[in-house]
Symmetry: C2
Subunit: 480 residues, 2 copies
């Protein structure tokens, strides 16, 4: 402990030579907000928290940590849901909270150059002044930052049509583990050499610290309209999703909610959802007016063919916003009907939707835990919310096991253990279920070539091989 105190004082002093003293945070009380991200069950006090406000300062922090072999955990808004930004007890939290400038918006190139701490929504607000917007829109878009979006390769309601974060980024400037500053990607469409830009997406802070991002912007569509459809059973809704896609329609978003989610959302914000429905679909279409009208009609027909009990189309912008409000506030709404909930994030082939929802219902009965489903149905990206009470002894452990089973089911049907939330600490156990040792050793060797001293967010994202067997043993538990 003496050694740690010495190291802490030494580092703090060192950092204060180039960072304002108040932004080198040593005391436990002021460090409190940095102890966890959105997955607050995983919590850890760091050694130090620093908030540089220039790239050069951030670069020097990394350089010094590299020399001293001190872990560095980069942090945006801390809205992540996999404990990817959880501090390291022996390390430094490098907060990018002060990197909030939009540096440039270029309407001709349709790009924006921004700092990593810029909130997702702010880009669209600013670009909106010239008729453009940034497409990927995670539910947390009013709070989450673009740096974190790149680190987790975030999705959102609109990624069915417009792609994930990785499809919407032109270039990234980042600090490498040894404190060098490099740029990946270019303003050109493609780039030469290996696609390191794509590799950085979803790398969860293990390969570098992002300091600047050039995003693609899109023109705001002429019209957008939401069709809501209520179903008496989950299977019909799931089949309707497949039918829309098979019909050659690419909605801007195609979301599904089940009965627990519907009731919670309706009670919370009165979006006009039918509370007796077993499943609800929200299908947004955008584009030029004629296209939207045409597709809306066809989507309505498909829903009716699949026994929708009710089909309603938004007639005004206010109505559209209200229909989405229910969906977007479904997480906090569910928070009102249960002391705690645990949000999962698996992805499955669309065709498996009905099967997986059925299996999940069976598991819910097995574990005696309710599940509310609110998710990106068009993408096959599930977000089951397991409802539990952390004050009941053993209930969180049961919840975690149930969550793990859901992820394993996703892998079983050909999907994967995370759609947009990342692996972090949370899904380390499931990685060996999805990947064999050869694949995991490839991840490790890539980590090695970017960060040989293992200072960048160590212990996250990739399970350490020697633990694989331990993780695997979980596999042998009985499954519902």
């Amino acid at each position: 402990m003496v050694v740690r105190a010495d190291k802490k004082a030494y580092l703090a002093n060192h950092f204060r030579q180039f960072i304002d003293s108040e932004y080198v945070i040593c005391d436990e009380e002021t460090q409190r907000p940095y102890e966890c991200d959105g997955l607050s069950m995983y919590c850890q006090q760091p050694m130090l928290v620093v908030l540089p406000d220039t790239v050069e300062q951030a670069r020097k922090v990394v350089e010094i940590c590299h020399e001293q072999k001190i872990p560095v955990v980069a942090r945006g808004a801390g809205t992540g849901l996999c404990a990817g930004a959880m501090p390291n007890a022996e390390g430094v939290v490098l907060s990018l909270a002060k990197f909030t400038r939009i540096l440039d918006i270029d309407p001709l190139a349709r790009t924006a150059r921004v700092q990593p701490g810029v909130r997702n929504i702010s880009i669209s607000v600013e670009a909106g002044k010239v008729g453009l917007y940034y497409a990927p829109d995670p539910s947390s878009q009013i709070a989450c930052t673009i740096g974190g979006n790149v680190a987790e390769n975030s999705g959102g309601v609109h990624c069915l049509k417009y792609g994930l974060t990785v499809h919407n980024i032109m270039a990234v400037e980042m600090i490498t583990a040894d404190g060098s500053l490099i740029t990946l990607g270019s303003e050109g469409l493609d780039t030469s050499g290996f696609d390191l830009l794509a590799l950085i997406h979803g790398s969860e802070g293990l390969l570098g610290v992002i300091t600047e991002i050039t995003v693609k912007l899109l023109p705001v569509p002429e019209k957008a309209q939401v069709t809501m459809a209520a179903f008496d059973d989950v299977e019909s809704a799931a089949n309707a999703v497949g039918a829309v896609i098979s019909a050659g329609i690419i909605p801007a978003g195609l979301e599904m909610m089940d009965r627990h989610a519907i009731v919670a959302a309706e009670d919370y914000c009165h979006a006009g959802y039918p509370k007796d429905a077993k499943a609800l679909l929200l299908c947004e279409l955008d584009g030029v007016e004629e296209e939207v009208n045409d597709y809306c009609e066809r989507v309505g027909e498909i829903f009716r063919q699949h026994q929708a009990a009710e089909v309603r189309v938004s007639q005004t912008e206010a109505e559209r916003a209200l229909l989405w409000k229910g969906r977007k506030s479904a997480f906090p709404a569910v928070g009102r009907i249960s002391p705690d909930y645990y949000c999962m994030d698996g992805t499955i082939p669309r065709g498996q939707l009905a099967y997986v929802l059925g299996r999940m219902e069976a598991m819910s009965q097995h574990y005696d835990l309710r599940v509310a489903n609110v998710f990106h149905a068009g993408d096959g990206n599930l977000h089951p919310l397991i409802l539990f009470d952390a004050n009941v002894p053993g209930e969180f452990e049961k919840t975690e096991e149930f969550g793990g089973r859901i992820l394993e089911l996703c892998v079983e049907v050909g999907g994967c253990i995370t759609g947009e939330h990342g692996v972090g600490v949370e899904k380390l156990r499931q990685m060996p279920i999805q990947f064999n040792e050869h694949e995991i050793s490839m991840f490790l060797s890539i980590k090695q070539c970017f960060d040989p001293r293992e200072i960048l967010n160590p212990g996250k994202g990739i399970p350490i091989l020697k633990n694989c067997q331990e993780y695997r043993s979980i596999d042998n538990h009985s499954k519902p």
Copy 2:
């Protein structure tokens, strides 16, 4: 030489234990077709050529070569334009010509599972039976194979709207350097861990041998229409390209040809291009009928505002096909007006189009070599064809130098040295202009972690660091 003959006989014998004798090619005459790819100035006889017809056979070839530390150069149709498939004198060419099966088309998931030797166009032909198609369409699509498309991250006329190959692939099965078989990606939308799937795209055979590919399919659009516009100067055409994009329109394709290309294409296939024009734009719009009509009108207006001397819209499918025929046969057409031509492939930010075309014209005068431009203007992906005569002593060297200057100009304005053709052998010299030593050493260390014995397509894609200084010295030559 004795050692080499021994090794060759030993290997050939070894391979013949599990591959039909006639598909292990040892003699110079039968090897001839494998000596180069589409960039035939770079030519090399290999030690052996093998054509396995199962994944297991291909895997064993790699495994044996790995044991013996023999270079392996995977080869599709050999239509590449950067000598990426040029054989290694001491190595084995692993042809995937017999991997031509479409394994599965799934209309609900909108995917096709195919072998790497399937021709690009064949996927769309087969998927067309259920109303789907595969979007990326390199000019060589009737000949090039999907495996090569992944290896080079190919583009095409439609990638402005539908993305590059990397945006259209779900999963890849590949043989690693040591002969293991792994799968990258999944049927789900995103995947966990580092994005190795993206990393494989454009990796030019340096990281693995692709044995199976799952591609995304799209619904065939209801309508497609081409607007042709002729301009009296290149600058107006370049500005019109920017204006279309700025207006919030995303064409399916937006192509440009300059006077040499127009005349050559018109003489060759009588598409109805005005031969006195200095620049021609072809703008394809696709989607539902109303959308296409609306956008077509707006595109026409924009072209007229930019002083188009003529604007013509295709009225029938035959007319649309004819307008494209001119563009698609521009390369062979140019081949008729010059003994030889050299096709470059740089990418620039769209806003730099007029400036770069002007600079290129000045260089053309400096080098006294004509340049025909036929390219993906909407993407900023240039394809200058430098016209020369290989029989005039020194003219190829001059052409190569001119080509190098064009690529450097692309980097200078914020673009990159290859849009879709790859680095191969051809652009090794330009890599250190685009990337610093730190970045190149990152490429090398990624290569190292996939292929520590350096058997996969060695000598391509990444310049060896010790040569960087030599390459750099080129930089000090006087520039026009």
